[in-house]
Each structure stands twice: as structure tokens, then as C-alpha cells.
Amino acid sequence: MKILVTVKEVAEAEDDFDIAGLDIDERYLEFDLNEWDEYAIEEAVQIKEDGDDVEVVSVTIGPERAEETIRMGLAKGVDRAIRVWDDAFEDAGMLDPKTKADLLSAVVEAEEPDLVLTGVQAGDDSFGATGVTLAESIDFEWGAVVNALDLDADAGVASVHRELEGGIEELTDIELPAVLTIQTGINEPRYASLRGIRQAQSKPLDLHELDDIGLDDEALESPLSRTAMYEPESEGDATVFEGSAEETATELASLLRDVGVVEG
């Protein structure tokens, strides 16, 4: 059995930042493994450890900078990794879910996985649509926002819980092959061991350019484009307590007494 895990390196904004054009100035961005993908990786690695003959492959659309993040996955137990990138990406516009799904479809065709795990969303642009778009494109079944997974590979069924709103979970049986978008909390992601980190250095991490996956520049054309980015006007009118921690704490304490939620 083969599991493909999509892994994105996401950008996180520092507390103080400036916007340069259509994005936050890169000086104020920190790059890290997408929180949701961390859980997807762990889920795949646990399935591998519980079964025999399971291979876990990760795929990332991202520049060379992302390789450090990709190696984190390899250190946690991913067997090998694919990075999709091309000079053409530098001039490309917005990589919307459809564009990403087209790129990932080409990788799925070559790898023929039985199961694809993605995160529910990427923490930076929060589109939350790439996994299900991919499923529809490659004619896989799917399930979104999965927070429990019981795989019966012989029967070809994934029994999942989908986390709905308001503390309700939906129990669903999904035929394989399938794409599941994984929700945080489904497992406890491991830390990479020192040994894992060492081993990761020698695991395969292959670059696929557009040509290698049978696509050309046209694959990057998207009908969506970002036309502006700005800091929303604060709607808040909070009273901000100023001063040292002792001073602000004292003010807050008397507020709590005035409101009547603490005695005194």
C-alpha cells in the first residue's frame, strides 16, 4: 500500500509586519511546516507502522527553501519526498486550489497511491479546498475534516469521523482509493528523533519540474488573482490597561470585582 501526503510550507506573520505590494514583506514572515499537515504526516506514519509493506511519500509544491520543512517529514518517518517546482513558478500568479490540484494530479498519476492525506487547510491562505479538488480531479473518493481514521485496506474502506460544528461528529465509510483532509488533534504528532533527523539526510527528495510531470506553463494559469492586501481597520474599541504588569493586573482585578464575577 502506498500513502501520499501533501505537505506545505506555510508562512506565519510576526506580530509587527509591513505589507509590500500584495503580500506581507518577507522579512516579517517565518516559514514552517503547516500545522494540519503535521497531523497528516503522523497519521500516515502510524498506518505504516501498524501495517506491513506501507510506503509513505510526501509531495510539496514549493521553492528550494521548503526542503528543510520537507526533511522534517522525512525525519518523522516519511520514506521519500517529491518537490514540485519550476522557474516558471517565480512569475506565476496565484496558485489557487485548482492549479495545485492539477499539479498534484500529475504526481498521483505517476505514484498511484491508495490513499492521499492532506491537511484540512493551510494556515496561511486558509483556502481549505486543495484536497477535495484533487479528489474530484483524480476520481478518488474523499472525506473532509477527518478527526478519526480506521483503515481497512483489505475491504478497501476507510471508516472516518468528520468533525462537524458544535461538538458533533459524522461517522462515514469511504471507499478507497480516497483523499482525506486531516484535522488537528487526530493524533499526537511525534518529535523527530536525532536518529530520524540523521536518516532523513539520505532519504530521496526529488525535484519534479513541470516538464517531468508532463505539464507546461499553461498549468500555472489561474483565473484568480490577488488584487490587494491590507490590514483590516480595527473595529475594536477596547479599553487598554496601561502600565506595569502589577498595575494592569490591579486594574483588571478591580474590573472583575466591579462586574461581580469575583468577590471582594
Partner: protein, 317 residues
């Protein structure tokens, strides 16, 4: 070709709030486009739902009487067929958890672009969608260069329409290919029961990822003890297993409306806010003056929780 089609949502016999919010955004958009608003209701007690959704601004309600509960394969097929019949220029879907499970599939089947989690939509010439990025720290506008597009709409962002209207109600005979239905909903489960019900509390002290480590939790528990408050949290604290699920506030946890909600080291992500914005008084302690929670707070301390929380405990003991 200037109409809007919006697909409503229900669960376990009840319409979800987002349905009447879709009427609000849908009728605004239809007016801009010079067209009409159509609603789709798929599955469940479609006649009762159609009655409930006979609201101002809706021209036609199309009911698809197929199944009781949401199934993404059925919804994808039915929505695509309704789309073919109505020929709208904009398809609106809810950005709910079920929306996440079928909106991308619908857009992909129809080969139309999708913009998700809209907090603003306008069509002045082309379609333009406002959405957030970087954990609600910034807003962006996305232009859609296509005649026809799908947009998923953030729940609780628009006011619901409540005024009655007089739409025509038409039954739509969708041709569902059962062989293509490869997922089966077998049931529902309520989680997060247990000893405490945070939605009953008058004073919630809620902790977020700013606490950094499980070993730091006693700092908060001391404050909780000193104040006789109830402890709750944002999702990552529960995901990490530091607190049980019944302590989680938010979209997938509990909705709370205490007299005071004290958010410590919580950024105020939309899914968290969904669970606490109805609190009477909101107080935030956060090092980031631009954290989205600040927009909601009535009182705020912009400082390190590791300094403020012990001082607050002292001041209250």
C-alpha cells in the same frame, strides 16, 4: 446568466443558520448582477425547509427530495445539475464543515473557479471576493477572471434574512447516479460530554497557545482557583491533550456566553470567535496588539501573560 444560486444547509432535521445568511448575501449580489436569487435545498424535509426559507429576496426555491442527511456525493451531483438548470453566474455555498466537503468537488466538476471563506463579495464588472489570510491578520481581495464562479461564504459573517417573502417553490428531479456514491454516512456522535459544562459558567478563564507548554498550566490553574472561575481553552490546548475536549471553546467545541470571558494567549481565530463572541464582557491578555481578539475585546492588556497572570492572581488572592 446573471442569477445567483445558493445552496442551503441542514443537519439532523434542522436548517443551519448559514442558510438564511446566504439569502442575505445572495440577494445583495443578485441585485448587483441584475438577476434573481435561487435557493437549492437538498435532502431532508425539503417542504418544511422551503417554507422556512420563503424569505424576502428569494425568487425561486428548488427542492431536491433525496436522502435525509448530507452526503457529499449526492450534494455534488445535485448541485451540479441544479447549476445546469438555473445557469447562474455565481454559485454560493456555505463555508461550513460540510461546505469544505463538497464545494471544491462541485467547482471541480463544473470546471469553474472557487474562492472560499468569503467575508465580502461584490460584482462591479468582474467578481471580487474579500477574504482573510495569515490567521485574520490581513484581508485580501481576489479578482475572478471568469464569467461564472463559485464562492463559499463564511458562516455568521452576514446577518440572516428574517423577513418573509413569496418565492415560487419548485421540485427539482435530480438524477443521482447511485454507483458514484462511494461514501455512506452511518451515524452521528456527540462528543465533549463529561464533568463540566463550560457553557454554564459565568466567568471563564480561557487559555491558548500563548501558554507554550503543559508545564505552565499551573500558572493558570492558580488564577482559576483564586477567582473561582471555570477553565476553558482554545483548540490547540485540547489537540495537545493538555485539557479534555469539553473545555474547548469554538466552532467545533462549545458556544459560551459568560458574563466575563478572559482570553489569555488566544489570537482570536474565526473558529474560536464563533464560540465566544456572545460573551457579555471580553477581556484579552496578549502580547500582540494586532491580534484579531483585540477587535472583539472590551478590555485588553498588551503584555506577557507570564508577567500579568501571576500579578493578577496575587491581586485577587
Amino acid at each position: 446568466m446573471s442569477d445567483v444560486l445558493a445552496i442551503t444547509e441542514h443537519r439532523q432535521g434542522e436548517l443551519r443558520d448559514v442558510s438564511s445568511e446566504l439569502v442575505t448575501v445572495g440577494s445583495e449580489l443578485a441585485a448587483q448582477q441584475g438577476g434573481a436569487l435561487h435557493l437549492g435545498i437538498i435532502g431532508g424535509d425539503v417542504d418544511a425547509f422551503a417554507d422556512e426559507l420563503s424569505l424576502e429576496g428569494v425568487e425561486t426555491i428548488h427542492t431536491v427530495d433525496h436522502g435525509d442527511e448530507f452526503n457529499h456525493d449526492v450534494y455534488t451531483q445535485a448541485t451540479a445539475q441544479l447549476f445546469g438548470a438555473v445557469e447562474p453566474s455565481t454559485l454560493l455555498l456555505p463555508n461550513s464543515v460540510n461546505g469544505l466537503d463538497y464545494a471544491p468537488a462541485v467547482a471541480s466538476t463544473l470546471d469553474i473557479p472557487l474562492v472560499t471563506d468569503a467575508i465580502g463579495i461584490s460584482r462591479d464588472g468582474g467578481l471580487e471576493v474579500t477574504r482573510e489570510m495569515y490567521g485574520s491578520k490581513v484581508e485580501t481581495t481576489v479578482a475572478v477572471d471568469a464569467d461564472v464562479a463559485a464562492v463559499s461564504v463564511r458562516p455568521a459573517e452576514w446577518e440572516p434574512t428574517t423577513d418573509a417573502g413569496d418565492p415560487s417553490i419548485e421540485s427539482f428531479d435530480a438524477d443521482i447516479d447511485e454507483d458514484a456514491v462511494k461514501s455512506t454516512v452511518t451515524g452521528f456522535e456527540a462528543v465533549a460530554g463529561g464533568d463540566v459544562d463550560i457553557s454554564e459558567a459565568d466567568f471563564l478563564i480561557s487559555i491558548g497557545r500563548g501558554i507554550e507548554e503543559e508545564d505552565n498550566l499551573p500558572l493558570i490553574k492558580d488564577l482559576v482557583e483564586a477567582t473561582d472561575a471555570t477553565l476553558s481553552s482554545s483548540r490547540p490546548i485540547v489537540d495537545n491533550g493538555w485539557l479534555p475536549k469539553n473545555r474547548q471553546v469554538g466552532q467545533s467545541g462549545k458556544v459560551v456566553t459568560p458574563d466575563v470571558y478572559l482570553a489569555i494567549g488566544i489570537s482570536g481565530a474565526v473558529q474560536h470567535v464563533a464560540g465566544m463572541k456572545g460573551s457579555d464582557t471580553i477581556v484579552a491578555i496578549n502580547t500582540d496588539p494586532n491580534a484579531p481578539i483585540m477587535d472583539l475585546a472590551d478590555y485588553a492588556i498588551v503584555d506577557d501573560l507570564f508577567d500579568v497572570v501571576p500579578a493578577l492572581t496575587d491581586a485577587l488572592e
